[in-house]
Symmetry: C2
Subunit: 414 residues, 2 copies
């Protein structure tokens, strides 16, 4: 199964029981003949590069971030979606991390960059990058998801692939100093209840964050997946706000101000607030609630062969760990328990799998996540009943993929 290259039908093989269960699989008996020796074995390969930064194989050129051309009004304020349907594990390669910028990607010299902390503090301070990286540090694997992820479908747009339905979601190992450590340095005054974070990009992105979260698990990060932050992810410094909407996780971080009230910036009034059915808008709805999506198979793919396949997907919750993922093959009538694969970490993508046979019958595949608080990911009609249709942010409804009897996989959302 693939959307990568032209369809090559698999030859029909044996159906048999195996050590790993009763799932039969198509494979091909080995005929007694010498193995082919391809050209790449007959000649020396490319030498190890000296001083070059490695890149993917030339055969993987289709695995890249993609925009929706009609979405961006100006190229500096664009969304570039992660190819989630190709993601193999819980980590997103830094070169494929989704992008959302409001004033383009600045090229910041780390030797000139400073972070200032001021406002309701005992000792306002400024920190160079060298100073910041001397502090006690942590490394945590966390997802970041744009509050608008999936929101287009709330507006009736039906997108083809998981890259566009869910691709404002990525997951990295983040390294930095806990914000609480820095706040300890400056000394937070008792009256301080909120914190303003400001980026050094041309949009000087600003968001207000409650002091409780700031003193809990927020990271002032300089590292991503083992190296410095990527430019698109805030090089040299960003906030990582575990489980909360991406917009808060200010990139190119240059200023933190402590105060008594939220600042009511553009990004928490005109944007990133949730329109409700009664005409009001909810503000400061920070948490990315439990969500999940099946990625294999998913929209735009084609099952080339009947028989065994593994259903694979990702689940996550902004309230901590994923407790359980259920999968339905009949549009939500019956649910089966999926297996959680690999480490299950808080505020982190969690991989789930389920063995599956496709025998040419139409199916409606769904997954739903239940997190450690007991919250169950809702259906879209449940979400609409609670929040109407004027909303855009925080759409975490169950995704439906239709598998036709021809094996074509289509978005059956809405």
């Amino acid at each position: 199964m693939s959307e990568r290259r032209p369809h090559q039908p698999l030859r029909r093989g044996l159906l048999k029981a195996s050590l790993w269960g009763s799932v039969a699989f198509a494979a091909r008996p080995l005929v007694a003949q010498p193995l082919k020796v391809p050209d790449w074995t007959r000649q020396l390969g490319r030498p190890a590069g000296d001083g070059t930064y490695g890149l993917p194989s030339e055969f993987e050129k289709q695995v890249v971030r993609r925009q929706l051309s009609w979405m961006a009004r100006v190229p500096e304020s664009a969304v570039n979606f992660t190819p989630l349907q190709h993601q193999k594990g819980i980590l997103t390669p830094s070169g494929l991390h989704f992008e959302r910028h409001h004033g383009g990607i600045p090229a910041i010299d780390p030797d000139q960059h400073e972070l200032v902390i001021h406002g309701l503090v005992e000792r306002p301070l400024r920190f160079s990058m060298e100073e910041l990286t001397r502090f006690p540090s942590v490394s945590r694997i966390h997802f970041i998801e744009c509050a608008a992820n999936g929101g287009l479908e709330w507006k009736g747009v039906q997108l083809e692939t998981a890259q566009h339905t869910h691709g404002m979601l990525s997951c990295s190992e983040w390294t930095g100093v806990k914000l609480s450590t820095l706040l300890g340095e400056v000394g937070v005054k008792p009256r301080a209840k909120w914190l303003l974070a400001e980026g050094a990009d041309a949009a000087t992105m600003t968001r207000s964050i409650p002091i409780e979260k700031a003193l809990d698990d927020i990271i002032v990060a300089w590292g991503q997946n083992g190296e410095a932050l990527r430019p698109e992810q805030g090089y040299p410094l960003r906030l990582v706000v575990p489980g909360w909407e991406g917009n808060l996780q200010i990139k190119w971080l240059r200023r933190l101000e402590l105060g008594e009230q939220p600042w009511q910036t553009r990004e928490e009034t005109a944007r990133y607030s949730d329109f409700m059915p009664d005409g009001t808008a909810r503000q400061f709805t920070f948490v990315q609630e439990a969500n999940s999506v099946i990625l294999s198979p998913s929209g735009g793919m084609k099952l080339d062969q009947t028989g065994f396949h593994e259903i694979r997907g990702l689940a996550w919750s902004g309230r901590g760990k994923v407790a359980e993922v259920q999968v339905s093959r009949d549009g939500g009538q019956r649910w089966e328990l999926a297996q959680l694969e690999g480490p299950v970490l808080p505020f982190c993508l969690t991989r789930f799998t389920l063995p599956w046979r496709f025998e040419g019958q139409r199916q409606l595949l769904q997954s739903r996540c239940i997190d450690e608080t007991g919250y169950v990911q809702p259906r879209l009609d449940q979400l609409v009943a609670a929040r109407g249709t004027a909303s855009f942010y925080h759409k975490n409804a169950i995704q439906t993929w239709e598998v036709t009897n021809q094996g074509e996989v289509r978005n059956a959302q809405v």
Copy 2:
């Protein structure tokens, strides 16, 4: 502290207690004046790329893999070391994963690549990449370390940086099918005790692996850090053999043969065997025993300022999880318990930290790892007493970094 850019002295700051302990830190009071608005805030940044694969900041060009030019006899048989001293977390970016090739890096078309399993099996089979990726899959974060990592120092060579002393070590999330699953498909005959793995590179690298390990935790991997394997790491298919020497983890995997005896290939006779003091050689010493290294500060760095610093390093064990890391500042007379940071996973790099003050006095920094079996990482003299000086592989001795009273950090090994 940095080896990255020309030395910029930190301005002297306040010494004070803080919320995170009694460790004083140098930072700079904020003078009441408007914040500078740098050029990168005054103008729009670069737009999000469409269809491009992301790369690090131009200010991080020095963080690359490096060779030792005098080591490689031909460029296709080279070692390219990971810049471990710059690694921020437990993961190594795929673009910086160490390389060791014996016949160069082949460019393999995944649509033409096949894996054959034959020999003492019930049903010899061949698998295309499409077929393999339909099997039940796993994702695991594991280190891979060359058996020769650090071995040069056994020969009296004293290398400057951690990149060259320990940089044949990297850690990735690997995704694939368990080898035991595929062996279930072909049906292993009771007489089969060993397995030969063969690569499709020009060296057709071959190693013998005991059947017990093959049925335990080996992965036939197609994914690395969320995407397809990198070409240097075996694209499209490799073995991942958790905790065992890198040479076994055959890249560009094309053939697995089951048999009664090891094959005694070049790579397990003339190479990758351990010369002992009595003139014999030990073969099939697979496990990478417990090891650790302090990376910050480490060789080639300079402490620009006295006062608080965090000691940071990585520990690992080929026998499972790291249980404990101890740090000495006086060349091994006294030991302190370091903190283990982030997830502690089996056969995975584990990050450790220790708060530290440098006040201009000469120090000898060491770390030692104790794994979950109770094994304690040895001193070099203990290793030499047991294994002599003719050895080369599996050097896991404690590393010593000297910090001079000028703050220069030097390799004090041997």
